[in-house]
Symmetry: C2
Subunit: 413 residues, 2 copies
C-alpha cells in the first residue's frame, strides 16, 4: 500500500464512520451476538443470534417443558404463552414485515414443504386447461424440486417451464397456471418487480407464488399492496430465527375458501382436540399449519422477531442500499485489477440486500476470506456472495470487508 | 380408610418398593428433570425433559449458532457435529429402537407430513386397480386427515375405509392398496398384532404403513422382523425429544428404488450444494428429508436419544408391563366402586405402555388429578389415559398415582 493509498483509505473509512454516527439503526447491533474478529456477511444464509433468543430457549426448555410439561400446550393462554397459539403469534409478528394481515400467514414446516402446499392449492384453483408452472431457470433448486415432485405425484400432467428471468414477462401466456418465482435471486441478488409481474400475471389469469427467502426482513415487502396471491418465506435468513427455523406461508384472504389445505393435519383443524374423524379447516391461514409445532425452534423464531419491534422497515431498506452501494463502490477498483465481475444490479429497485461477484476461483477466494474472519458464501459455479444486514452491519464493516477482499486477491491473505 | 385398608395399602407399597429395589432401569430416573410433587403419567403425550438436553441446546445456540454461525453446517463433520449430517445421526440412533437399519430411517418434519410422504409413495406403488386405504376407525385423527387431504389432491380416486380394529383382518381384501394403522391406539392403549397383520396384508398384496407414535421408545419394535413396508413415528412422546420434536419415517430397503420421494426438497438431494436443476435423490432414506433441518429441535431429540444408549429394550418392556399390571391391579377395587371401565387389554401382547379407563366425568376427574399433581390425559369423549414410562417411573409412583385417583373419586380430592 502506498502512502497515498493509505491516506485515501483512511479518509474513506473516517467518512464511512461519520455515516455510521448518523445511523438510526446503529443501536440494533447490540441486540446480536457477533463473534469477535468476524465480519459476518452471511446473514442471508443464516441470520446471527439475537441475544434474547438464548434466554427464551432456556426458559422454554427448563420451565415450559421441564417443569410445566404437557400443561404448557394450553397454560397461560391469557399471557400469550401457550404453545397451541404460538404459530399464530409468530404469524402475527411476520405479517407486518411482509404487508400481510395476521390471519393470512401460517408458520411452521420448512420452506420446501410450504412451497408444496401452495403449489398444490394453486394448481387445483387454476383453470384445468392451464398446465404450465412458469419459473425462473435460476430459481433456488428446492423450489424447482418441489414442483417436480408434486407434478410427478399428479401424474406428470403439468409442465415446469424454467425461463431466464429477463424473459419471464414474455412467457405470461394463457397456458400458464401459475408462476413460482423468488423475488431476490439467491446468487445474483437481482430483485424482480413483484408488483409489475403480479399485475401482468393477473391480467393473463395467472396465479402467483412468491418466494420471499431473501426478502422478508431484508426490506419492506408489501404482499397485499402488490396483489400477490401466495407467498412463502424463510425464518432463518434475515429473520434470524436460527438454523432451520420454521418457515412461513401467505395466502391472500380472498383465496382462503378456494385454496385447499391438502396437507391437512390435526393442528390445522378447527378444533384439534375434538378428535373428529373428518378434517374441518381452522379459520384463516391456521388451516395450513399441519402437525404439532416444533416448539423449540418456533420459540427461537418468536423471540428473534422481537428484534423488529422498533424497526422502521423503510429506514432498514435505506441503510441496506447504502451498505450495498458502499460495498460496490469500494470494490470497483478491485474489479478493474482482478477477474471480478459484479453480477448484482446497480439499480436500487432491482437489488436485494446482497452483492455478488463472479470470480474464476470463487471457492478458493471465499475459503481465504473465511480464514480471515470475513464470512460470505461461495455459490456454484463461480459466485462470491456477500449479504448485508442493516440490523448489525456498519459502513465501517463494509470498509473492513473490502480491505479483506483486497488482501486475499493480492495474495497476501 | 379403615385400619385394615391402611395396613393392606402400606404392605402393598412396601412390596412395590421392594420390586423397585430390583429394577435394572431404576438409575435412568436420575437422567430426567421431574418436577417435585408431580407424578407424570403423560410421557405418551410429551416425554419429560432429559437433563442432557439443556446443556446440548445451550451449546447449539451459543456456540454452534452464535459463534460458529454458518460454518456449523459443515464444520466438525469428523467429530460428528456438523448440522448437515445431523438428520442421519439421529436416524441411526432411532433405527435400533424400531428394528430398522440406519439407512432405512429419515428424520425431520412432523408425523403428519411424514404420513403424507409415505401415503403418496405407497399409493403410487400399489397396483392401479386397488383404490382402498384401509384404516382403523379410531386411528389418530391426523392420520385420517392426511389421507383425506392426499386423496382430495389426487382427485378423490381413492377411498379411505375406516373399520373397527377388530374387523381389520376381515377387510384385507383385493380392493385394498394399503393399510394405515397405528400400532397402539392412542385412547385405549390396545396394541395391534403388527407381525400378523403385516403378513396377512402381504399375502393379499397390500402394503402396510405403521404409525409408531405410541410404540417407539415404549417397547422394542421390530420393523424388519415383521416385514413392515413403511412406518412413521413421533419424536416427542416416548423418545422424549421435546415439544413438537421432529418425526421419523421408515422405508424398508427393498422399497427404496420404487418409493418415490414426492416431497423432494434440496436436503434430500444427492448433492444439495451442486444446486442442480433436477432432483436426484440421495442414497437410502435420506431422500425423504425435505427442507433445511430444524437444528434446535433436532439437536434436542439427538441428545434425548442418548438416554437409550444403555437401555435393554426387553428389560424396558418387562418393566412397562409390570407397571401397567400393577396399575390395573391396584385400580381394580375402584372399578367396582365407581363408574370406571378399563378399556386397555389385560393380555400383555395386546397392550402398549398406557392404561385407560372410561368414566362419565372423565374430563372433570382429570382436572382434579392434575390439581393433585397427577398428570395424565383426558381424551374425548370419556377417556382417562395414564401413560407409563419405564425410564422414570417406579412401582411406588404407580401406588401413589392410584391413591390420588382414589382420593379424587372419593370426592376428597
Amino acid at each position: 500500500m502506498t502512502v497515498f493509498d493509505r491516506l485515501f483509505a483512511d479518509s474513506t473509512l473516517s467518512q464511512l464512520q461519520q455515516k455510521d454516527t448518523h445511523d438510526p439503526l446503529a443501536h440494533k447491533r447490540a441486540e446480536f451476538k457477533l463473534p469477535e474478529g468476524v465480519i459476518y456477511l452471511d446473514g442471508n444464509s443464516l441470520g446471527a443470534l439475537p441475544l434474547r433468543v438464548s434466554a427464551r430457549i432456556l426458559r422454554v426448555v427448563e420451565q415450559e417443558w421441564g417443569n410445566q410439561l404437557i400443561r404448557s400446550w394450553t397454560a397461560n393462554a391469557e399471557a400469550a404463552q401457550d404453545w397451541m397459539q404460538l404459530p399464530d403469534r409468530v404469524a402475527a409478528k411476520i405479517a407486518p414485515l411482509i404487508g400481510a394481515q395476521a390471519h393470512e400467514v401460517a408458520v411452521g414446516d420448512s420452506t420446501s414443504v410450504n412451497i408444496f402446499k401452495l403449489l398444490a392449492a394453486a394448481l387445483k384453483m387454476a383453470p384445468s386447461e392451464r398446465h404450465v408452472i412458469l419459473t425462473d431457470a435460476d430459481n433456488f433448486p428446492t423450489d424447482l424440486y418441489m414442483a417436480q415432485g408434486l407434478n410427478a405425484l399428479l401424474g406428470g400432467q403439468y409442465e415446469l417451464r424454467p425461463v431466464p428471468s429477463a424473459e419471464l414477462e414474455a412467457h405470461l401466456t394463457e397456458e400458464v397456471a401459475l408462476t413460482l418465482l423468488t423475488e431476490v435471486d439467491y446468487r445474483t441478488g437481482r430483485k424482480l418487480d413483484m408488483a409489475g409481474l403480479t399485475a401482468k400475471a393477473h391480467k393473463n389469469g395467472i396465479l402467483t407464488i412468491w418466494d420471499l427467502a431473501h426478502s422478508a426482513g431484508a426490506f419492506p415487502v408489501d404482499l397485499n399492496g402488490t396483489g400477490a396471491d401466495f407467498a412463502v418465506g424463510c425464518g432463518y435468513k434475515y429473520l434470524n430465527g436460527g438454523p432451520g427455523a420454521p418457515s412461513f406461508l401467505f395466502v391472500a384472504q380472498r383465496h382462503h375458501d378456494s385454496a385447499h389445505a391438502f396437507l391437512s393435519g390435526w393442528m390445522g383443524h378447527a378444533d384439534p382436540f375434538e378428535m373428529a374423524r373428518e378434517f374441518s379447516p381452522a379459520p384463516g391461514a391456521r388451516r395450513y399449519v399441519v402437525g404439532t409445532p416444533t416448539v423449540l425452534s418456533l420459540s427461537a423464531l418468536d423471540a428473534a422477531l422481537d428484534v423488529f419491534g422498533d424497526v422502521d422497515m423503510n429506514e432498514l431498506r435505506a441503510k441496506s442500499l447504502s451498505l450495498t452501494d458502499t460495498f460496490i463502490e469500494l470494490m470497483e477498483p478491485l474489479t478493474a485489477q482482478y477477474p471480478l465481475t459484479l453480477v448484482t444490479p446497480q439499480t436500487h429497485a432491482e437489488r436485494g440486500s446482497q452483492v455478488s461477484y463472479q470470480h474464476p476461483q470463487a471457492q478458493e477466494v471465499m475459503q481465504k476470506l473465511t480464514q480471515r474472519g470475513i464470512l460470505g458464501d461461495f455459490r456454484t459455479p463461480d459466485i462470491l456472495r456477500f449479504g448485508f444486514t442493516p440490523l448489525y452491519h456498519s459502513h465501517a464493516d463494509v470498509w473492513r470487508a473490502v480491505q479483506g477482499v483486497k488482501h486475499v486477491l493480492e495474495g497476501s491473505g
